[in-house]
Assembly symmetry: C2
Homo-oligomer: 231 residues x 2
Amino acid sequence: MRLVIAQCSVDYIGRLRAHLPLATRLLMVKADGSVLVHSDGGSYKPLNWMSPPASLRIMTPEEADTELGVTEVWNVQHAKSDDRLVINIHELLHESSHDLGVDPGLVKDGVEADLQRLLAEQIHLAGTGFTLIRREYMTAIGPVDILARDAAGATVAIELKRRGDIDGVEQLTRYLELLNRDPLMAPVRGIFAAQQIKPQARVLALDRGIDCLTLDYDMMRGVDDVESRLF
Amino acid sequence: MRLVIAQCSVDYIGRLRAHLPLATRLLMVKADGSVLVHSDGGSYKPLNWMSPPASLRIMTPEEADTELGVTEVWNVQHAKSDDRLVINIHELLHESSHDLGVDPGLVKDGVEADLQRLLAEQIHLAGTGFTLIRREYMTAIGPVDILARDAAGATVAIELKRRGDIDGVEQLTRYLELLNRDPLMAPVRGIFAAQQIKPQARVLALDRGIDCLTLDYDMMRGVDDVESRLF
DNA sequence: TAATATATCTCGGCA
DNA sequence: TGCCGAGGTATATTA
């Protein structure tokens, strides 16, 4: 990885066009040819960047640019598209190079897949007497997160989200419509389950006869830990 | 901005939990207290990070950690939530600090707003004899991108996207449902316009009687340039 | 402040 | 490889 602090202007031409006026910024060149242009604020998103795979060519500026104070031109070309990043460097303030090696990568816990596993194991949280039919029940339009049977023997489709938004209700609605076309399965009712359900999503769900279920991940994980410890 | 290359392990605890095993990485500390952990690959997204506003406290490790080789513990605490990033530093390989100043920021061209302006100007692309009623036509549930009148005098609602996904079709469906409740406006038909329309979205749109329109931004901008040059 | 739509989204999974 | 869904989505706009 190469780190450069420089006074520069940046232009991106590709899926859109974007321009950064002259200022002092961090330029990060990664081993895969990707380049990130960061300012000293904002979030983790760079001001401008080039995704890998890409190649960096450092060129001498044309005469007109030299007169404007440009000392180097970095041409970062994406390997598989016409996307291009052009960095006009006016002054190099710092430069260093480092060998980082390959990263072992991130281990996550608490994403939708974990929620799904826990709810499948603790399906009684969806309702008393519920039994699991299966997770990731495939249909023509995609997988239903959890398919279960309620105490009365009726089929229930459960859509899981970390954050319950209107999109999720639409998604579950499409599944229910499809499942209810199958006479062997109908009637199928729906449960929209999430750690947090937005008011609008709740209104839409109830309007469509879909039950809402708020999940407490920490509690569910706690139960999971206790159960794991028993075996 | 402070740049550190270090052998470290990282833990994030907040909306979820995430762990990075020991490896050499770049740590970027920005002026607003945000911290980015980057490896020498991937794209612009850091392996792990803390969003601003945040504060960094550097602490001496506990004895047990010292024995494992930890020399410094960075505790990055978000200012407005319980999100926390803990970086256990084993070896500092490089360190430098830089004053970047405030960035003037990015200028963009070619986002949805530009597409919308161009299609409004070239509304004939939606169909022969089309006339523009208005852009951003407000309804109770949000603005319809473009409202137009077709050759026969019927109202047409156009939803614009750069990438036509299923969400956009749902959005347009909601608008059409609402607009068609108004007897003065009904019947209103829909056109789903995008630079690229995903197959699933196309199927759903056609199933709901919504026409699809693929837009060529470069061509539209080219026409725009030519027209601009005439005046 | 809260909700909504966009993104050069990125990233992972699966056909 | 392309499509599809999730994201600690982040970010800008607007009511």
